[in-house]
Symmetry: C2
Subunit: 235 residues, 2 copies
């Protein structure tokens, strides 16, 4: 390698991961207790430094796998935080990612080393540095992306009922839907395949299971926009 | 400031700017001849290093102002490029921005120092490093964003005709529209205010001027989606 760029500043570069999960009732985020000085022991997003020979994507996957035991997780870079004073230890650029995981899979493979805990997106502790702003932006990006990609289905089991899907959409878009209206609009998207069996845990009558129609969903995804109460507040 | 993080690598951090402009006929990007070793003299995006006391947003504005003389330009961070080998001189993280400028304004204030030139987005020289991939992603982001934000109007004069608007949309979405169909759909979005005067440079009959209805455009912006031939290829 040639001589380096002269007279330029160099900074540590980190990734921070906003991990979303859904437990069938609430949209949640996974937080850890920070293991480093400064602010050791405070609640924080899971993060780490980008090492010499890896890209930020690779660093984010490595860090998420160390925490959750999971690989092949949906993960997306969404914004880079660069305020000169954001990290009080030294100037650190943070490339933020959000990921979506199935909470049940996670439970089977969790590492205890990080003191990780799930918190409702509606009620979680104060976070260090600019991590609060990262969560806020990640949620907005999730709302935005979910209008045109099947990413929310990553948070659900393979078979799900309309009430479960409605509860997830209500949490993500911070709204409540009329039940009949939600079902009608959701079915009209052509995204769902009705199954023969029912979930009878919620009521005697039960609720039919559905699966995402992976064959035709590319053409129909943008129809989810119809479900969003005010697309212009998020798009 | 406390002791630094120990044993961590540090990298130079740059911003690169994809500057879009529209000259009334073609969507263009602004390129410069690189002033630094390596690859000095080769075509490149306009970029520079993030200095000690500035954020990436501030660096991007500073660099764009130095090149174009323009401030208060629409500018948006869209992706951070981190491949360990992307810069052959030393490891450099690049935070990429796209901006939209009115080519006419630019012409009045251009700095000659950078040997900058506009190229059609359909035909421009090979670029250094991963700048080709940056342009590709910036264009996709522009397509995506323009379905729900009035950003394409940043590229147009205050008053414009429907043929001019159609030509811009055709360039951005790489398609051609039927004239009657485009006009009908565009007017049905409720985004445009018809003016009393006509542009008569194109034909004897002339074409009415329109302005963006800035009072009501927030509610109507997502209707632009109707104009996009295949929303799922870009959303």
């Amino acid at each position: 390698m040639a001589a380096k760029y002269s007279n330029q500043s160099r900074y540590t570069v980190a990734v921070d991961c906003i991990v979303f999960g859904y437990d069938g009732k609430n949209l949640k985020i996974l937080l850890v207790k920070r293991a480093l000085i400064p602010l050791k022991g405070r609640w924080s997003l899971m993060g780490g430094f980008v090492a010499k020979n890896e890209s930020a994507d690779q660093a984010a996957s490595r860090i998420l796998a160390a925490l959750t035991g999971l690989t092949n997780v949906y993960q997306e870079q969404f914004y880079t935080f660069t305020d000169p004073g954001r990290d009080t230890q030294e100037r650190t650029i943070s490339i933020a990612y959000f990921s979506l995981i199935d909470i049940k899979k996670y439970k089977e493979s969790i590492s205890d080393a990080y003191q990780a805990e799930w918190f409702s997106i509606k009620d979680f502790p104060n976070l260090i540095f600019d991590h609060q702003a990262m969560v806020k932006m990640a949620k907005k990006r999730l709302q935005y992306k979910a209008t045109s990609h099947a990413i929310l289905f990553e948070l659900l089991p393979d078979k799900f009922t309309l009430p479960l899907l409605q509860s997830l959409f209500e949490d993500v878009y911070e709204t409540s839907f009329d039940k009949g209206n939600f079902s009608r609009k959701m079915l009209s998207t052509g995204l769902l395949l009705k199954q023969r069996d029912k979930d009878k845990t919620g009521s005697k009558k039960g609720a039919y299971f559905y699966k995402l129609d992976r064959k035709n969903y590319q053409q129909n995804l943008h129809k989810i926009l119809k479900l969003v109460p005010n697309p212009n507040s998020i798009l």
